[in-house]
C-alpha cells in the first residue's frame, strides 16, 4: 500500500481513530462514569440519605431474614420472585425487592424495591423514579433511543476500530521510550500530540485491557460461531454446561408452603464461613418447586462468577454443589469479564480505574483535537484569503465542541434534573435522560453556529459552575448535606459532592487557560511561534481544548 508498513500503519491509526472517535468518546465517558454507578445511584435517591444507610451485620442476619420474609409475604404475594438484599460496601442499605409477573406481551415484569430504615420498622417505599448510575452504565453499550441490538453492534464496531487504533498506534510509536516523558507545552499541534501520546501510553495496559474485554463481554453476540459449530447453535446447552445447577426450574403448579429462611443460615455458614451474604433470591414462591438461592458478597476477589447456594424452598435440602472449580477457560473468561466491570475494586483501586478511564477519554479527545488543529493549519492560507473553512473542518470542530465540552455539561444537567424535576412526575426517569441528551443537542446547535473559543469558554464555564454548585444543590434538595455526610462517614455521598466540586474547579481552570490565550492576539500562521496553551491536566476530557492563534484570529467560523 504505502511505501512501508510504517506508513500504512500511520494512515490506519489516523483513520480508524477518527471515523469513530465521537461515539468512542461517549462510550468511554459513560463507561468511566459508571465505575461509580452505585455511588451515583445512591446520590440520586435523596429519600434514603438519612436513617437508612447501614453496614452489613452478621449478628442481625436472622432477624433481617425473618423481617424480610414477613414483609414480602405481606406485600408481594403473586410475585415472580422475591429478593432480600443485604447491605454491601457499595450499596449500604437493606432492601426487599420483588419482580411481578410480566404482563401479556412484555418480556419481564416490574422490579419493585423497598428499602428498610435502620430501625427495622419503617420502609421507604416512595423513592423518586431515576435511573441513577445505571443510566451511564447502559449508555456505554446500549446507547439510547435505539434498539439495544443495533446499539451493541455499533459499539462493537467502534470498539474493533479502537483495538486497531491501539495496535497501529503501538506499531507506529517508534520513539515510544525516547519520548515517554516529553510534554512540550505551548507548542500548538505538537503539544496536543504529546498529550495524546502521554494519555495513551501511560495507561496503555488499561486501554488494551478495557477494549479487548469490552469485546469479550458481548462475544456471544459478535462471534457466536464457536457455539454454532460446537453446539449446533444451541446457546442454552452451552450456558448449561458452563453453569451446571443454575438452570431455571419452572413452577409446578402445586402449592406448598415456604420454609423459614433463617433456618438455612447454619447450612450457608457451613459452606461459606464468614463470607458476607449479598442477596437471597426466592423463586417459584409457595410452589413445590420453590428455590432459595444465596449469593455471596465476593468483595475483592477478581471474579464475576456468582455461584449460589441453592436450597429447596419446601424441604430446605441443599440442591447445588458447594463449589465447582471452574475450568481454566472459564476462569480466564470470568477474570476478563471482571476486569472490565471492576466490581472487585475497593475505593483506591476504583479511583485508579476511574483516572485511567479518563485518560482514555483524554486520549480520544486529544486525538481529535489534534486532527482539527492540523486541518485548520492546512486550510489556513485559504481561510485567510476569505474562503470558508471546508465542510470537513467545520464538522470536526463542531463535533469536538459538542462532545468534548458537551458531555460534562450534559452529565451536570442529568444530576440537576434528578434533583429538580418534580418527584411525582410521570416517566420521571426518562425525563432525566432526556435532559442529558437535550443538553448535548443544544451544544450541537451552538456548535453549528459558533465553533470559536468563545463557545468553548461558554460551555466550559457553564459546566464548571454547574459542577461546583452540586454540593449546594445537594444541600438544598436532600436531607443530608456534605458536612453531615462526612461526619456520619457516608463516603459515597460525600465523595460525590467533593469530586463534583473538584471537577468543577478543573473545568474552571481549563476555561481560564482558554481565556488567557484568547486575549493574546496573533495573526501569524507560524505554528512554531504559536503560544497555544494546553489546559491544565485534569481528569476530564473537556479540559483538553485547542487554542491556537489561527483559531482565535478567525472567530465565528
Amino acid at each position: 500500500m504505502k511505501e512501508t508498513f510504517f506508513r500504512s500503519m500511520t494512515w490506519l491509526h489516523t483513520w480508524v481513530g477518527l471515523l469513530v472517535c465521537w461515539v468512542l468518546l461517549l462510550v468511554f465517558f459513560a463507561g468511566t462514569v459508571s465505575y461509580y454507578r452505585y455511588e451515583i445511584s445512591l446520590w440520586t435517591k435523596p429519600e434514603i440519605h438519612s436513617d437508612v444507610l447501614q453496614a452489613y451485620q452478621t449478628d442481625n442476619l436472622v432477624h433481617q431474614l425473618q423481617e424480610g420474609q414477613a414483609y414480602l409475604s405481606a406485600h408481594a404475594e403473586n410475585a415472580k420472585d422475591w429478593r432480600i438484599n443485604f447491605p454491601t460496601e457499595r450499596k449500604p442499605y437493606l432492601s426487599y425487592s420483588w419482580q411481578t409477573h410480566p404482563e401479556p406481551g412484555e418480556r419481564r415484569g416490574q422490579f419493585i424495591e423497598h428499602i428498610a430504615h435502620i430501625d427495622g420498622q419503617d420502609m421507604v417505599t416512595d423513592i423518586r423514579g431515576s435511573r441513577g448510575g445505571n443510566f451511564f452504565y447502559r449508555l456505554h453499550f446500549d446507547l439510547h433511543y435505539m434498539p439495544a441490538k443495533i446499539a451493541r453492534w455499533i459499539v462493537g464496531f467502534c470498539t474493533m476500530f479502537m483495538l486497531l487504533a491501539l495496535i497501529s498506534g503501538i506499531v507506529i510509536h517508534k520513539r515510544i521510550f525516547k519520548d515517554f516523558f516529553s510534554f512540550r507545552r505551548n507548542k500548538g499541534g505538537r503539544s496536543w500530540l504529546d498529550a495524546h501520546n502521554i494519555s495513551s501510553v501511560l495507561a496503555l495496559p488499561y486501554h488494551l485491557m478495557i477494549t479487548y474485554t469490552g469485546l469479550i463481554t458481548l462475544m456471544l453476540m459478535y462471534m457466536p460461531w464457536g457455539v454454532i459449530t460446537a453446539y449446533e447453535g444451541d446457546a442454552r446447552a452451552f450456558r448449561a454446561e458452563l453453569k451446571p445447577g443454575r438452570e431455571q426450574v419452572a413452577a409446578s403448579g402445586t402449592p406448598a408452603p415456604l420454609i423459614q429462611l433463617s433456618t438455612l443460615l447454619p447450612a450457608v455458614k457451613a459452606s461459606w464461613g464468614n463470607t458476607p451474604i449479598k442477596q437471597v433470591v426466592i423463586s417459584n414462591i409457595d410452589d413445590e418447586n420453590s428455590r432459595i438461592s444465596f449469593y455471596q458478597n465476593t468483595q475483592q476477589s477478581v471474579t464475576d462468577l456468582r455461584i449460589p447456594l441453592i436450597f429447596s424452598g419446601v424441604s430446605g435440602e441443599q440442591l447445588s454443589q458447594a463449589s465447582d472449580t471452574p475450568s481454566a477457560a472459564h476462569a480466564t473468561h470470568d477474570t476478563l469479564m471482571s476486569l472490565h466491570t471492576a466490581r472487585f475494586a475497593e475505593p483506591v483501586l476504583r479511583l485508579f480505574f476511574f483516572i485511567c478511564g479518563f485518560m482514555g477519554c483524554a486520549m480520544i479527545a486529544t486525538g481529535t483535537l489534534l486532527w482539527a488543529v492540523k486541518i485548520r493549519q492546512k486550510q489556513q492560507k485559504l481561510i485567510k484569503q476569505g474562503n470558508k473553512p471546508s465542510f470537513g473542518l467545520r464538522l470536526v470542530e463542531g463535533l469536538n465542541l459538542t462532545f468534548i465540552a458537551g458531555l460534562p455539561l450534559a452529565t451536570g444537567a442529568f444530576f440537576y434534573a434528578n434533583r429538580l424535576l418534580p418527584t411525582q412526575m410521570a416517566d420521571r426517569a426518562q425525563w432525566e435522560v432526556h435532559s442529558f441528551f437535550a443538553v448535548i443537542f443544544l451544544t450541537a446547535v451552538l456548535a453549528y453556529f459558533d465553533r470559536s473559543l468563545t463557545s468553548w469558554r461558554r460551555v466550559l464555564g457553564l459546566s464548571a459552575v454547574a459542577f461546583m454548585a452540586i454540593p449546594l444543590l445537594n444541600w438544598a434538595t436532600s436531607s443530608q448535606h456534605l458536612f453531615q455526610n462526612i461526619a456520619s462517614h457516608q463516603w459515597a455521598l460525600a465523595g460525590f459532592d467533593l469530586l463534583s466540586l473538584l471537577i468543577g474547579i478543573a473545568l474552571w481552570f481549563a476555561r481560564r487557560k482558554l481565556a488567557q490565550t484568547h486575549t493574546k492576539s496573533s495573526n501569524r500562521v507560524a505554528a512554531s511561534a504559536s503560544r497555544a496553551n494546553k489546559g491544565k491536566r485534569v481528569p476530564t476530557a473537556s479540559a483538553k481544548v485547542a487554542s491556537d492563534p489561527e483559531l482565535s484570529a478567525k472567530e465565528g467560523e
Binding site: Y206, Q300, E346, F352
Partner: protein
C-alpha cells in the same frame, strides 16, 4: 484488603522510579540539573529506576496476591508516570527534590503503617 498507606507507599516509590528513569535521559537531566549527565550517572539512574519499580511490584504482589496486586500496580504506575511528566513540564528543577521526598515518604509509609 490492601491498606491505603501501602498503596500510597507504592505510589511514592513508583514516582521515585519513574523520575529516575526520566533523569536517565539526557534532555530531562539537563532540564532538572542544567548540566549533562555522565554516561555512568545515566546508567546508574536507569538501573536504579528499574530496580525500584521491580521491588515495588514485588511488594505489591506480596501483600495482595498476583491478580489484585498486578492490577493495583498497573494503576499506580500510570498515575506515578503522569505525575512525573507533569513535574518535568512545569517544575523540572524540583524533580530531584520531589523524588527525594517521595523516597522518604514511601519508606516511612511502608515501615510504619
Amino acid at each position: 484488603m490492601i491498606s491505603n498507606s501501602m498503596t500510597l507507599s507504592l505510589l511514592n516509590f513508583s514516582y521515585l522510579a519513574f523520575g529516575s528513569l526520566a533523569l536517565a535521559m539526557f534532555s530531562h537531566f539537563r532540564g532538572a540539573f542544567d548540566r549533562s549527565p555522565s554516561p555512568a550517572q545515566s546508567r546508574l539512574l536507569y538501573w536504579f529506576g528499574w530496580g525500584v519499580l521491580a521491588v515495588s511490584y514485588y511488594i505489591g504482589i506480596l501483600y495482595q496476591g498476583f491478580a489484585y496486586g498486578s492490577i493495583l500496580f498497573t494503576g499506580i504506575i500510570s498515575l506515578a508516570g503522569l505525575l512525573v511528566i507533569l513535574t518535568l513540564s512545569y517544575r523540572a528543577h524540583h524533580l530531584p527534590h520531589f523524588m527525594a521526598g517521595s523516597g522518604v515518604l514511601g519508606t516511612l509509609l511502608l515501615l510504619f503503617a
